[in-house]
Each structure stands twice: as structure tokens, then as C-alpha cells.
């Protein structure tokens, strides 16, 4: 039976000059294909005028994008997905970044790209939201960051 495949295929963050700042792929594609998609999509989104809506059809996907300051946040969702809630997902991610970095700007994402990924991976998993509470996501990141300070994570046998 034809089933609705409801999930996000990928998320891209890029600057107004088209420089990639983050790429999260939830479908297996070759490097070549990823580069091609990125190039074409970035071009398409950058060509959009401010008066246009945040959604566009591209190949057989729906693209939801929103610009925050100098960064474009761009998600590809499947045809049956709810575009409006995807906008909320994007917004939630920005809020998380903002809380973590304190008034986040593009430079934060550039110089701490690995953190941006860690935060994204605590919020989404396989293209779906795993945690809907802002507080819980940030708490988890905080705890994980603390763990980085610890030398070893395996407790010696006499402490287990």
C-alpha cells in the first residue's frame, strides 16, 4: 500500500553568500549527489525574493526555509508533511542555539560548528523531534559538555 513517508530528508544552513555552515543528511546519498543538491538548492533559495513565501517545490520535495540574520535555515520535507510545523522546528532549533551561545550569530556557528551539530542531534534524531522541551535539550547538552572535562568515562571496576 502506498504509505506516507513523513520525515525530513536533510537540513542545510548557509550564509547569504552561499557558504555552507552545517549539513545534516537523513538519507544516504553520495558526496557528489550531496554537493549537487546543495549547490542547486542554495542557488534556488538565494534567488527568492523577500515577498515570497517560505515554501517552494523542488524536485519531488518540499523545501521550507527561513532566514535568521545572515543565515538561511533550509529543510527538505516529504510531500505529505506539514510545512507550518516545520517552520516551528526550525525556530526551535534557532532558539536552542540562541540559548546555548547567548544571542547566537553566524560566527558562533562557524567557529563552533561541532557544537551546532551536537545541539541538533539532541533535538532531532533521524529527521524527527526527539525532545519537545527546550529545557531538557539544553540540560542534556550541558551534561554532555561536562563529561568532556572528565578524563575517562569508564568507571574502574571497583567503582561500578
Amino acid at each position: 500500500m502506498p504509505f506516507l513517508c513523513l520525515f525530513m530528508q536533510f537540513m542545510l544552513l548557509f550564509s547569504r553568500q552561499g557558504k555552507l555552515r552545517l549539513q545534516k543528511w537523513y538519507v544516504p546519498l553520495s558526496d557528489k549527489e550531496k554537493k549537487k543538491i546543495t549547490r542547486e538548492l542554495v542557488q534556488t533559495v538565494l534567488a527568492r525574493k523577500p515577498k515570497m513565501c517560505s515554501f517552494l517545490e523542488w524536485r519531488d520535495l518540499k523545501i521550507v526555509y527561513k532566514r535568521y540574520a545572515s543565515l538561511y535555515f533550509c529543510c527538505a520535507i516529504e510531500d505529505q508533511d506539514n510545512e507550518l510545523i516545520t517552520l516551528e522546528i526550525i525556530h526551535r532549533y534557532v532558539e536552542l542555539l540562541d540559548k546555548y551561545f547567548g544571542s547566537v550569530c553566524e560566527l558562533d556557528i562557524i567557529f563552533n560548528f561541532e557544537k551546532a551539530y551536537f545541539i541538533l542531534d539532541e533535538f532531532l534524531l533521524g529527521g524527527e523531534a526527539q525532545e519537545t522541551s527546550k529545557k531538557n535539550v539544553l540540560k542534556a547538552i550541558e551534561q554532555a559538555d561536562l563529561l568532556q572535562e572528565v578524563r575517562y568515562v569508564i568507571k574502574p571496576p571497583w567503582e561500578q
Partner: protein
Amino acid sequence: MPAPIRLRELIRTIRTARTQAEEREMIQKECAAIRSSFREEDNTYRCRNVAKLLYMHMLGYPAHFGQLECLKLIASQKFTDKRIGYLGAMLLLDERQDVHLLMTNCIKNDLNHSTQYVQGLALCTLGCMGSSEMCRDLAGEVEKLLKTSNSYLRKKAALCAVHVIRKVPELMEMFLPATKNLLSEKNHGVLHTSVVLLTEMCERSPDMLAHFRKLVPQLVRILKNLIMSGYSPEHDVSGISDPFLQVRILRLLRILGKGDDDSSEAMNDILAQVATNTETSKNVGNAILYETVLTIMDIKSESGLRVLAINILGRFLLNNDKNIRYVALTSLLKTVQTDHNAVQRHRSTIVDCLKDLDVSIKRRAMELSFALVNGNNIRGMMKELLYFLDSCDPEFKADCASGVFLAAEKYAPSKRWHIDTIMRVLTTAGSYVRDDSVPNLIQLITNSVEMHAYTVQRLYKALLDDISQQPLVQVASWCIGEYGDLLVSGQCEEEEPIQVTEDEVLDVLEGLLVSNLSTPVTRGYALTAIMKLSTRFTSVNRIKKVVSIYGSSIDVELQQRAVEYNALFKKYDHMRPALLERMPIMEKTASNGPTEIVQTNGEAEPSVVEAKHPPPVTQPTNQANDLLDLLGGNDVVPVIQTTVPTKPASAGGELLDLLGDLSLSGGPAPAPATSVPSSQPAFLLDGLTSPPLFNDIAAAGIPPMTAYNKNGLKIDFTFERANPNPNIAVITIHASNSTEADMTDFVFQAAVPKTFQLQLLSPSSNVVPTLNQGTVTQVIRVLNPQKQQLRMRIKLTYTHKGSAVQDLAEVNNFPPQSWQ
């Protein structure tokens, strides 16, 4: 060996590069340093080096030499190492990489780690990009974690299970027990991911769907609590409690309620409640309303609820936020067929959206407008749509013009209005009109007998203004050629007849022949029109002169015509009047896409010019070669097969379908071909008094036969003699399907021995519907000048229940009357 530079240091340095070349040099230098560091098996700085590599990878540089290093990091006991290692794995080690599977053991260990954040990393990596094999190996671990009481892990395990199921659907069953009390969780993260998991399972398996229907009351309760509960700071978004969870529950309810009366009833109240109580001032509230509307429309909701949903969409259309308007139009487009009257109430708002600035909104508004056109509103709607056609972007014009033609054909209040509308389209968007509109329009005009004079007059006047728009010029030329006598005799009733002489008309037509603006096709029309006027005008000598001049035209097509027309004047003058007679009323065809007809007998048919469009023989020749191989290679003539129109046939209602598959800007979406009532196009080339050649009843007394009957597919042949050529047998195949599934992508091919010639026309559709609910028909014309015994080899390909089927068969049992 100095310590490798830090990540941020590298980023800073690279950003100082002023040119691409400078950047590349820095990158190469750093990569070399990293490579030697890797070679030295440096544990301390491996993490730093891989992080740098990942940064350079994002800039577009190759990083594959870091793959194994990621594996080493994952295996390390330091959390920092693991964090970067897993990130690297997700970026560099997807399932296409050879070393992907080497991760499996590490992930397995980490899934059982004593620290939940390590387990989390493993679950995340597996759930984002684990290959099928890896999923198979580790599904058991995921299932275990799905039952843990640790909500941090449980929620991740749920989404990981979703990924496993997507990759290896057969494993779905093993997760069933663990789903037992997922919904009793209080933790929203677990709830959300559980609903996602349940949704995935229900979508993939009808059995699961039936099994989980019993959860509807519980889901309704959870949703109700979310709406009724007071402010919860943890999950609040602009005054709404956990919109993500609400949307997900609504979606699951949609799937559970679809087609099921009881479930639909059980959720009726909560849907009404959400629809009326949700705050609409912000996007988040509208997101929930949108999902609610989608659910209401999909389940078996009572009519009051459906009207409520459509009204929400109507309100969306008035929203300032263009995103909201966009989703409203998209949804209305989906519901316009089923809830037509309710959508009609919002027609004026929809029409207003034609003036929107956003291209996607305009397109949807256009499609929706066409879907809403009916006999009552045709005049008003057409005014708006023609205005839109005037001012819209070129990318819309072709679709809009086609839509206008279709709507006009269906609902024209009068013939005059119809012609006027066509004229308006041709004059304002004439160059964007599709090529296939030209023959359709010609047919329309021919059949509007009382409007001939008016039409030719208006077209003539349009030509005087502008000869640049080819479709307009072609239709006009054809009409003038056909009805030129009415033009010069000033017989028009509908409006003031114009005074024009034969010479003036010929001037115009000759002008088309010489103009640089005219395409070769247009010139062909013009020349033929001039020729036809030789039996309608008195100035035959002038026409003879023009025709003879073009006998030496460089354009081969024109030259051929001119030579043939010349021959008509010289040797066959007695036949000329009959050949150039007024066209008869053409049989109305289903408004398909173009059905190109290939001539195999090479006769010049001067009066039917439109078939001279070079038909695109798009069927690849390798198919013909396949059949050649089958029949032993040497004694077979390749079949010239015409293509199935990929646009769905709308012989009656589906304007929406025709425009629907043109709307996706991502390229043509192959719309499923709907089966068309089996009226074949009138065979225009075959003599001028041709009655429709094709009917399901065998003519000329030749008994029908069954050519093929296997696996539920039955193909019957019915026969007819072609008139006037008795050497041509016309066979109509009727394909029917007695199984319980449709046969799609159905293609019929045939090959005959060398002494025969075979021509296949377009099939009626490429779907043979299940349980004999309809037939696919296709016409074969076989030329058999040597009167040899007819035999044929046929090849059938189709898709049935998801798999491709192919079969070959010999047909030898032709009745003797079909070839003697």
C-alpha cells in the same frame, strides 16, 4: 613534533585567505600535517585533527582519509573522542562506504555503556544513518532500550526503531511488545517519539493499523489534556502546550480514523474542539489548525465538521501571512473534488489570490480557479482568468491558456462566446499556446458551423494586426483556406461584415509565406490555405503562380507540397474540387494530449495539414529491435509505435488532473493515466468522408478472436477492413484484466513478417483496470499487399502487484477473412 594547531585557530587562519587558491594551499598544508599525525597513531590529538578535517570537509574538500580515524575515536574511552568520532561517522561513514560496517561492534558496545550520553550518541548515529545490515545486527539492542525506564534513552530508542523499521521492514514485529505502554508515559519526549513510532508502524502494515486502532481513546485523552491543561512553561510555545506533540497526535489520528467509522466518531469531538479553540494569531496555532483540517478531511467525519474545516481554510486565505495562504490553497486543491460546493463558497477569495505576488500562490490559485469553473460562473471566472492570462508571468501562460480552452469547451454559454474567448487567448498569449491546441481549435471551429463566417473574419482581422504568434497564424491560415469564400462575400451575421477582396486575402497569405516570423510549419499552413482557395476564389491564376514558385523552395516540405499541388493543377485538375472540398464535421475526440499519427502509405492529403506536424517518434527503437530479435532478426519490419499520452485523459471532468501534473515546478510528475472511454480519434488521414473507423463491434462480418489469455490478461482482436484500401486490415485489440489488481504501465507491441507493414496507433490508456472493469483498446493497421497468411508475434509488458511482468506470444489463429 609540535602539537597540531587547534580547531578554532585553523578556522581563523583559513578565513583570512583572500582567494580560493590561497585557501586551497592552506587546506593542503594542514591536510598533510594531519595525515602524518594520523600515520603516527597519535591518540592525544586525533580528536582535534578529525575535527579540523570535518571543518575542511564542510568547505568541500575531500576527507575520506579520516574515515578510519573516526572509527578509532568511536572506540576510545574518552567522551570527547566519542563525540567527535560519532559526528565524523555521521558525516563521512554513511552506508555507501566500505568501512561503514566496522562501526557495528563499537555501536553495540556503546549501546550498552554505563553512561547514558554515550548510549545516546550510539542511538543517534544508528538512528540517523545505520545501514540495513547494521540495523539487523543491532535491532535487538534497540528493542531492549525501548523498554528501559530511562526516558532520555527511551525516546531515542523509539526514533532509532523507526529508522530500523524503515531500513528493514520485516523487523517491525519485534518492536510490537515494547509499544505496549508507550503512551502511558508522562515524559513528552517519549510520548512524541512513541507517536512517531506508532505512526510508522501503522503506515507500513494494515495489521498493525488495525491493532493500534484501540489506542484512539487514549490519544484523544492525551490531546485533550494538552489543550485543557494550564500553562506549562516547559512545553509552551506562544500559549500553546507542546504543539509538536499535538500535531503528531493529530496525524496519527488521521491514519487511524481513515476509512473507519468508529474511530472517526471517537475523535470527532476533540477535532471540533481543537478546530474552534486553537489560537490563530501565530504560526504555531495555525500549524495545529492545518493538521486538524488535514485530519478532518481524511477521516470519515460528519459533514458539519468538514464544513468547519473548509471554513478554516477559507479564513487562512485571508491571513496576512503568505505562508498560511499558501497552505490553504494547497489543501483546497486537494479537497476541491470531494467537497466542491464548500470550496465554491470561497471562490472570490481564491480568485483574488491570482493577484498575489508570490509565484507559488499564484499558480495554486490558478489551478484552483480552473477547478471551480462551472456552468454558472463561467462568464465571471473567465473574465478574471483572461485578465490573469494577460498579465501573468510567461511560465504560467501555457498552462493558463490550456486551462481556458478546456473550461471554454466544457462550459461555453454560447458558440460566439467560445470563439471570442479563443480569439482572446490567441491574440494575447498566442505564442505560449501549446502546439496541440492548434488541431483542437481547428476541430472546434469546424464544428461550429454557424460561426464560420464570424470566426474567419475575426481571425483575418487579427492577422492584419500581428503575424508573429504562430499558433494564431496557423489557425487563421487554416480558417482562411477553408472559409475564404465566406470572408470575401461579406456574409458575417454576428458583427459588421468587412469588405475584403480576394487579392487582399491572397496578399496576406503570401505575406505569411515570405515573412521571417513564420516558422516552416506555419508556411505549410499558408501554402495549403492558398491552394484550397483555388476552388473558392476566382483568381485561380494567381494561385497557380504562387504554387509553382514554391515548387523550387529550399524548404523540402514546402517544395513537396507545391510540387504536388502543381501536379493537381496539371494532371489531376478534375479531382481538385473534390479533394479541396469543405472539411466535414469531425468526430469529437476525448480531449487527450497529442495523439500523433504516422503515415505509412505516403499519400499526399492536401486538405488535412495539421498531421504534417513532424510527429515525435519518441518510442525508443530498441524496443522494436527486441521484437526483431524474437522473430529471427531478418524477416520482420520494425513497428512504428505511437506514444501513450502521459497527460491523463480528461474526457469529462478532470481539469484539475490536467493542470495538476503540470504544476509541480520540479518537473513533470507522471500522473497515472486514467482509462478513457474507448473512442479512438477519428482517423483524419483516411479519406475525406471517413466515418469513425473504430468501434467495439466487429465490422464487415469478420469474427473476432482471442489472441492471448494468460495470468488474467485477455486480449481480443476485432477486425475491420480499411476503406478504401482492401489490403489494409484494421485490428482493434481489447485488453481486459480479470485479476484483483490493476495492470499498470501496460504496453502492447507487435511484430509481423517482412511482407507485411504494420502501424500501431496510440492506446486508449496504459492501465488495464482490475476485475474487467474496463478495457484498454489500441488499433493496429496491417498492410498485406501480397495477401499472405497473417501472423504476428506480440510482446506484453505491464506492472502487476508491484512487479514487472513481460510475456511473448505468437498469434496464428487469424480468421482467413482478415487477410484474404
